[in-house]
Structure formats: C-alpha cells, structure tokens
Symmetry: C2
Subunit: 284 residues, 2 copies
C-alpha cells in the first residue's frame, strides 16, 4: 500500500547497474520505483526491476533519483533533474567517470542535492536481463567531491549504500578518473585489443580457437563488454586513459626488447616482481 | 600388489602438469608411478602424486615416461631418456612449445618412441600443491608431427589421453607454436604487463587497488603465473611471440589514435566487431 511515507525512487537508465539498484532497493518494502529508459523500459517492467514508468512530470515527486545511463549523457540529464526536484531530494549518478559530470553541475543552484558516485560493480554483461539484487554486496563505491553535497543529502545516500552493503571510499573526482583509468579502463582496452589481435588472425587460421584455454578466456573476458557503455567511458576519460595506455605500451615494448635480446635473467626477475599482484587480486 | 603386468610410469617434473598426470593415472590401479624433480620430489611423494623416486638406473624399466619440466630443459631430458628406454616404451612431453623439442630429437634413433604433446590445461597456479586429478578433463591436447611416432606408440598414448578425457588435435609443431603464441603466450604477456603498469603506479598511489574490481582481477589473473615456467616458454617461442606482440601493440596504438581523435563512431563499430569473441570464449 502506498502511503505518504513511501519513498519514491526514479531510476534513469535500466541496464545492469540501474536495474540492479531497482532490485536491491526493493528489499525495503516502503519504496515505489519509477524507471526511464529509451530502450529497456518495457523489459525492465516485465522483469520487475521498477514498478512504473518515470515520465518527466513525475520527477518533482521523487525522493531519490538515480542516473545510471551511459556516461556521455549524464551531465545533461543531471542538470535537467536538478532543475525539477524537491528541496530534500537526493540525486546521484553511477557513472564510471566523474570529473566531467562534476564540472557540468558545479554551478547548478541545486548542486548540494547531487552526489557523484561510482559503484565498482560492473561485469562484462549489460542490459536489464543482467541485473540482480546482490550485484553490489561488498563492492567498493567511490563517492567524489562530497563537500559539495549537503550533509543531510550525503547522509541519506550513505544510509542507502550501507543498506546495500556497499563499501564507501571518498575521493576527488579528477583523482578518481586518473586511478580508474589504470585499474578498470585500461583492463578493458587491453582485453578488447587482445580479442581483436586473435580475431584478425582467425581469418586465416580457422582452428585457432580450439587451442584457446581458460587463461585466454579470463584475459579476454572484458572484450564482451557493451560498446554502448564503454565507448563513452573511454571518450570521457580520454586524457588519463591516454596516459595509462602509453605506459602500458611502453611496458610491452620493454618486454619485447628483453625477449628479442633473450635476457632471461632480467625477464624472470621482472615477472617475479609482478607476481606480487596475486596478493592484491586474491583479496578482490 | 606389483606384478609383471603393472605399468611402470616415470614422471619428470612434478609441478601442476606432471603432478596432475600422476593423480589422473592412478585411477588405473595397475600402475606404479616414479617421480623425478630437483625441487618438488619430497612434496610430491607426501602428496601421493607418485609412489617412488625415479632414479636414473630405473629409467630402462619404465613403460611410459612423461616429461613435464620447464620447456628449456625438455630437449636434453628427452634425448637422455630416449637413450635408455625399452623398445615399446612411450615417452611424451607436455611443454607449451613444440618445435624446438621436435628439432632436438628428429634424428634420434628412438624418435619413434616419442610423442610431442601439449595438454592445454595450465592455470595461474604452479607446483605439486596445485595438482589435481581432474585437471585434464575435457581439455584440448595438441599432439604434433605424429607421423614421426611409431603407430603402436601413438595408439598407446591416445588410449591414455582418452582415459583421461582429453580431446586430441593433431598439428605440425611449428604451426602449434605460431598459434599458441596468440591464444596463450600473448595473453600471459598482456596480463603480466598490465600488472606491471598498475604496480608501477602504486608506488605513488597507495589507494589504487581499493578501486580494482572483478574485471581487473580477471584480466590480470595470469600475472600470477610462475616466472620459472613462463620465462623459458617466452624464450623458446621467441619469433612467433614477437610477431603476435607486434600486432597487439599495433592494435593498441590504433586504439590510441581513435581515442585521441575522439572517433566515437569508428571505435564503437570496432568494439562491436570484437564482441564476437564472446561467442568463442563462452564455449571454452
């Protein structure tokens, strides 16, 4: 039963992230979820990710608005939403880049109602069918430039994230973008280009994939990711990614030189050092 | 109880692959397993991967000898073993490169007793503790230059592989090395260098790994692999790997140009094409 106390939540973008927010927030029974998505609304309603359609005229009634679209359209949506909200409404986005969004809204009169968030929970799957309520459990949620969010609004957001068992990390939006270029965006590029390198070869070598094992599958897994999600991310975070990519290519070139010169001792020493990464990822 | 009909099997190299052969072959009760390994013999005996030590004087008694050492020492071991076997003994290796081994034994009088094999079953784990009997189930086993193996010896090997539920693929040894450079060796290099790129950055950015998610973990998983196993593989397969690495770097450079020029349409089109790789790896 809907009462005045029922929290009304609007979700814009009903893919993996937006859809999973819909499912996770339904654990709290006193919510009504409204969704907006050019392509996925019908499917999201069928799957029960949201309860109803979020038409523009309903936006002023929302207590919370979540923007989970591709990153390139977040700035314009964020400004439109901030123009029409109640004084105590929380608006947050979930994009993989943060600084351009921060810049786009920095002078908006309702900037204090907005929180920049990035729940690091994506997988190689996309769309409403990929959504599940446990996606965020134990995952890291980076929130940025929090001094520009009203303390009450920030608290409201942190309560939601706590309920969803997200861990929180505060960071400057540009620092977020610089770091995530290395630990997420670069992984996607290395995986996509590895996939391309082998697919290019496959034109002539039909049997090549019969020789691929679990190691190849793991390394190339992210090459299944959605181009509609990832092309805008790469473009929005151009400068940090170019830097990370440059360093990655330099390392590959240096490896090539060690191999060319058959410098076994130095290569072994370098690989032993890199093995340390195992201690890091075993905790993930 | 040991009888004259008990098959005596020697395994040289008791890491992940050799140790897992030991466990898998014990499913057949009429075997006695002897092991040889400079570092891992004691642990392998403790773990029951083999029953006894394979001293050099026992080699002429073996019915089967498996060479599962790092690839750089396989040629010399192969020649030594072939010098001392019975006329009906099967000897095979399990190395990740095949052509140099093929060349090393091509003129040996007992070449017909040898089979070049590569069960594509490695993981990022190594050593006798990583061994398990089900490692090979359903995996691909590439066997090379089989016309140089006596048909009876080849049949003996195929029966063993069938019993272990390995799938078999026949291939020229140089073709094997060329292909495996793309679908295995390049994956390891891309993963190691991705690990290095992020570790280099971590010197200045202590928090960076708190932002790493499951995508990063998947892409960098192979960077946990053993340098003692992989440095020799890279060196032995130098020419095909240099070729694969060159193409990979070219693709990364081309991606960089698309990003630099903000060519969104072309990037999206390219990534959509690469998505096809998902259909391939979902079958692995």
């Amino acid at each position: 039963m809907t009462t005045d106390k029922t929290t009304k939540i609007g979700i814009i973008g009903l893919g993996l992230i937006g859809g999973s927010f819909g499912l996770a927030l339904q654990r709290n029974k006193a919510v009504l979820l409204y969704g907006q998505d050019k392509y996925h609304l019908k499917k999201a309603l069928e799957l029960g990710l949201v309860h109803d359609s979020l038409t523009d005229d309903l936006i002023p009634q929302m207590d919370i608005v979540i923007i989970a679209t591709p990153v390139d359209v977040i700035p314009q949506i964020a400004k439109k939403i901030l123009d029409h909200i109640k004084s105590d409404t929380l608006v947050f986005d979930t994009g993989s880049t943060k600084h351009k969004i921060a810049q786009a809204i920095v002078e908006h009169p309702n900037r204090g109602n907005f929180l920049l968030a990035h729940p690091i929970a994506g997988t190689e799957y996309s769309g409403p069918e990929a959504a599940f309520s446990g996606l965020f459990k134990g995952k890291m949620n980076v929130i940025c430039d929090t001094t520009q969010t009203h303390p009450k609004i920030l608290n409201k957001a942190l309560q939601i994230f706590d309920n969803m068992e997200l861990q929180t990390l505060e960071m400057d939006s540009q620092a977020h973008d610089n770091h995530i270029a290395y630990v997420s965006h670069l992984s996607h590029i290395s995986s996509f280009m590895l996939g391309k390198t082998v697919l290019d070869l496959e034109k002539d070598e039909k049997n090549i994939f019969t020789m691929a094992g679990s190691g190849f599958a793991s390394t190339v897994r992210l090459a299944k990711s959605s181009p509609d999600t990832w092309t805008p991310i790469f473009m929005e975070n151009k400068t940090p990614i170019l830097q990370a990519l440059e360093e990655y290519i330099d390392n590959l070139q240096a490896f090539k030189v060690l191999l060319y010169r058959e410098n076994t001792a130095k290569m072994k020493q370098m690989l032993k050092h890199i093995n340390y990464i195992g201690k890091v990822i075993d905790k993930l």
